[in-house]
Symmetry: C2
Subunit: 387 residues, 2 copies
C-alpha cells in the first residue's frame, strides 16, 4: 500500500456539504477530489481540486469525472445508477458503492424488501399504487401509518402521514405515483450507525442517537442513551445491512428503537450521512476519511470514539430565499471543546442545512449535559434578514 | 461576528505543507485561501481555492494575492516584509503577523536582542562579522558554541557548531556573512509552545516536547516530560515573547530546558510550526484553525489537549531527488488512534519533510508509550527507489 504525489483522484457525483467534508478529509490522505454539481461554485468547490458543472444524472458529466479520476463515488442519491454502470463499463473506472446498491436504495420498496429477505428487522410495509390499494393495506396495518414515495424523497420530503381513513385520498394525491405504506413505529428513540465496507474488511462507528423534528435531523449524541443490549442489536442490524450492500464505502443506517427495546430499520444512505458528522472530531477516523479510504482501497481507520460527542445542525431560520449571513457566531467559536462547520452555501432558506456544530465532552460527559451545552452555544445563531 | 458565503479570503505567501494544512483548516470555518508559491501545483494547491505562481518576495505576486484577499499572511519566513508593507499600504489589505514582526524574526541577532530586552531568558550571544570577532566572542562565551547566519537559515541550515579554537576560521568561512554566535546550551530537553495573538485575546497551546536529530525535528510528545514548574516557566516565557510580537496570528516558540530546570529561548517562527502539527488531532482547536481565526479577526478557539498525543515526521530516506512514492503505509493506516498526513510533494530527497503521523493516546497514556507506539507504526515506511 503506497502514497504517491499526485495522489489518487476520486470523482464525486455531488458537490454539496458532503462533498465539501470529503474534500477536507481527502487532503491529509493525499487523495484529490473532482466533484460534479449543477450549481456553479457548489459548497465543495473551494475544498476540492475542481468542479465539473453538470446535472447529477448527466452522462457526459459523469464521463468527464471518470476521465479525470481513478475511482468514482457519489454523495447524493440523485446519481443515476444506469449512467454510472455505463461509464464504469466503458472507461474501466470502478464505482463505489456499486450502482446496484444505489438502485436498491433509491427505491424504498425494493430496499425494504431486500433487507426483510436478508433478515433485517423492518417495520411492516405494503406496496401501494392507488388510493384503493392504500386503503386496503391500512385495513391490515392499521392507522396511523406513513405513506412514502418509492423514489426521490429526502429530509421528510415524499413522506405523508396517514392518521385516519379520511386522510387516504388526500395522502395518495400528495404522492400521486408508485408508493409504499409503512406501519407507524411508536419509537422510543432514533439511532444511527455508520457502517463501512472496505476492500477486505468492514468497520462500524459507535451507535449514535439522532433527534429529528419535522423529519429533519436536528441533533445527535453518541453514545446513544440506549442500553448496551439495544446498542448491540443496532450493531447486529448494521452487520446484516452491510451483508446486503455491494461495493466499498460508508453507509448511513438509520434505526428505530421501539418501546420494548427492539430495533427496526428506518432508512439507508449509500454515503456519509448527517448522523455521522460528529465523527470528524468525535472519532479517531471520520466517516469522510473512512469513505475515501474504502473507495480507494486503502486500509480502513480505527473508528473508536475519542469521547462522548454531540452535534447540532445549523438550519435556515428565515422564510424567504436570501444571501446567507449567519450572525451570533462569537459564542460557538469561543465555546470550549466546540467546533464550527460552515458549508459555504450562498443562499439560506427555511430549514436548509447551512452548517453544524460539534461538542466533544470530557470522558464522563452525559448525553444530557452535552446537548444542553451545544444548545446553549447555538442559542445566539440566527440568519440576518437582508435589507 | 458573522459567517458568510463566499467567506473571508486569506492570501497566504507560501504554498508548502503549512499552506496545505491551513487550507484543510480553513474550509470548516468558511474561510477561503489563495496561496502564492514559485513551484507549480505546490503542496497546498489541491486544498485551497487557487495558487498564484510567483516567488515569495515578488511584489507583483503579493499584489495579486492582496487583490483577491481580505487579509494577507505568510507561512514561510522568506516572505519580504518590505514588500508586504508596501502592498498593505497601497491596497489597504491587513497583513498578520505584522511585517515588522517578520523583520525582527528574520534577523536572528535582532530577534535575540529584542527578546533579551523584553526580559525573555535567552542563551548568551554576540554579534560577529568576522573570524576575528568570532574568536574574541568565544574567548568570553567559551567553547563549544553555535555560529548562526543572521538570516535565511532553517532546519539547521545556516547553523555551524564551533567545538574548539581550531574550528573558528572554517566555521566563519561556512557562513561568510553577518552572523551571531551563541553559547552552547547543554539542554536536558527541547520544548515548544504555540502561542496565538487574536484581535483582543491571546491563547497558548499545551507545552510540547520536541525531539530533534541533526537539527531536524523528528518527533513531538505532549504533555512534555518536564515538571509542572518547568512547564509554567515555558508558558511564562511564551507570554513574554508574545508581548514583543506585533500583529495577530500563531507563533511557534522553541525553548531549551536546561539541566537545572531553567528555560532559555531557542527560536521563534511567526507562523504555524512543525512542533504544533499534533494539535490537529490532539487539541480542540488546531494551530492552523487558530491562525486563521486570528488573522481574520474571529474569536479564538479553545486550546485544551484532548489526550496525550505524539507526532512523528515522515522524512525522505533516499539519497537522490526522485518522484515521491511512500511504501509501507498499511501499518500506520491501520494503527488504532493514528492519523496519517501526506503533504503531496512531488519529489523526495534526503530528510525532506514529506508528511507526518499523529497518535492520540488514552487519557493516561505515557510519553514513552506513545513514542514507542508511533515508532512501531512508522517502522515499515520507506520511499521506493525509482526504477
Amino acid at each position: 500500500m503506497e502514497l504517491t504525489s499526485p495522489g489518487t483522484t476520486v470523482g464525486v457525483v455531488g458537490g454539496g456539504q458532503l462533498g465539501r467534508m470529503l474534500g477536507e478529509a481527502a487532503s491529509p490522505l493525499g487523495i484529490e477530489l473532482v466533484v460534479s454539481d449543477p450549481t456553479p461554485d457548489a459548497p465543495a468547490a473551494p475544498a476540492v481540486r475542481d468542479q465539473v458543472l453538470g446535472e447529477f444524472d448527466d452522462e457526459a458529466t459523469v464521463r468527464e469525472l471518470a476521465r479525470r479520476a481513478d475511482y468514482l463515488t457519489y454523495e447524493i442519491e440523485l446519481a443515476d445508477p444506469d449512467v454510472l454502470d455505463a461509464v464504469a463499463e466503458d472507461t474501466g473506472t470502478p464505482v463505489h458503492p456499486h450502482p446496484e446498491t444505489l438502485r436498491i436504495i433509491q427505491d424504498k420498496l425494493v430496499q425494504k424488501r431486500r433487507l426483510a429477505e436478508a433478515g433485517v428487522p423492518v417495520p411492516a410495509f405494503r406496496a401501494v399504487d392507488s388510493a384503493d390499494e392504500l386503503r386496503s393495506a391500512l385495513a391490515e396495518l392499521g392507522y396511523p401509518a406513513m405513506l412514502k414515495a418509492r423514489e426521490g424523497g429526502y429530509d421528510g420530503r415524499g413522506n405523508v402521514p396517514v392518521a385516519e381513513p379520511g386522510d387516504v385520498e388526500a395522502a395518495f394525491d400528495a404522492i400521486n405515483g408508485p408508493a409504499m405504506v409503512e406501519e407507524f413505529v411508536d419509537y422510543e428513540r432514533e439511532l444511527a450507525v455508520m457502517g463501512c465496507l472496505g476492500a477486505d474488511e468492514r468497520t462500524t462507528f459507535p451507535v449514535t442517537e439522532t433527534i429529528h423534528e419535522a423529519e429533519i435531523l436536528r441533533e445527535t449524541v453518541s453514545p446513544a442513551r440506549a442500553s448496551e443490549q439495544v446498542r448491540e442489536r443496532a450493531r447486529a442490524a448494521t452487520r446484516d445491512v452491510l451483508d446486503v450492500m455491494q461495493g466499498r464505502g460508508v453507509y448511513g443506517i438509520e434505526l428505530f428503537e421501539t418501546g420494548d427495546g427492539e430495533i427496526l430499520l428506518n432508512e439507508i444512505a449509500p454515503r456519509p450521512h448527517n448522523s455521522g458528522h460528529w465523527t470528524i472530531e468525535g472519532c479517531h477516523t471520520s466517516q469522510f476519511g473512512q469513505h475515501l479510504r474504502a473507495v480507494t482501497g486503502l486500509a480502513l481507520g480505527s473508528t473508536g470514539r475519542r469521547a462522548p460527542t454531540a452535534s447540532k445542525n445549523i438550519l435556515g431560520d428565515v422564510d424567504g430565499r436570501q444571501p446567507a449571513r449567519l450572525t451570533g457566531v462569537e459564542r460557538p467559536l469561543s465555546t470550549d471543546r466546540l467546533s464550527v462547520h460552515w458549508y459555504g452555501k450562498r443562499e439560506v432558506y427555511h430549514l436548509r442545512k447551512m452548517g453544524h456544530l460539534t461538542l466533544v465532552g470530557e470522558q464522563n460527559a452525559s448525553a444530557g449535559g452535552l446537548l444542553a451545552g451545544i444548545r446553549d452555544a447555538a442559542e445566539p445563531l440566527t440568519f440576518a434578514e437582508t435589507d
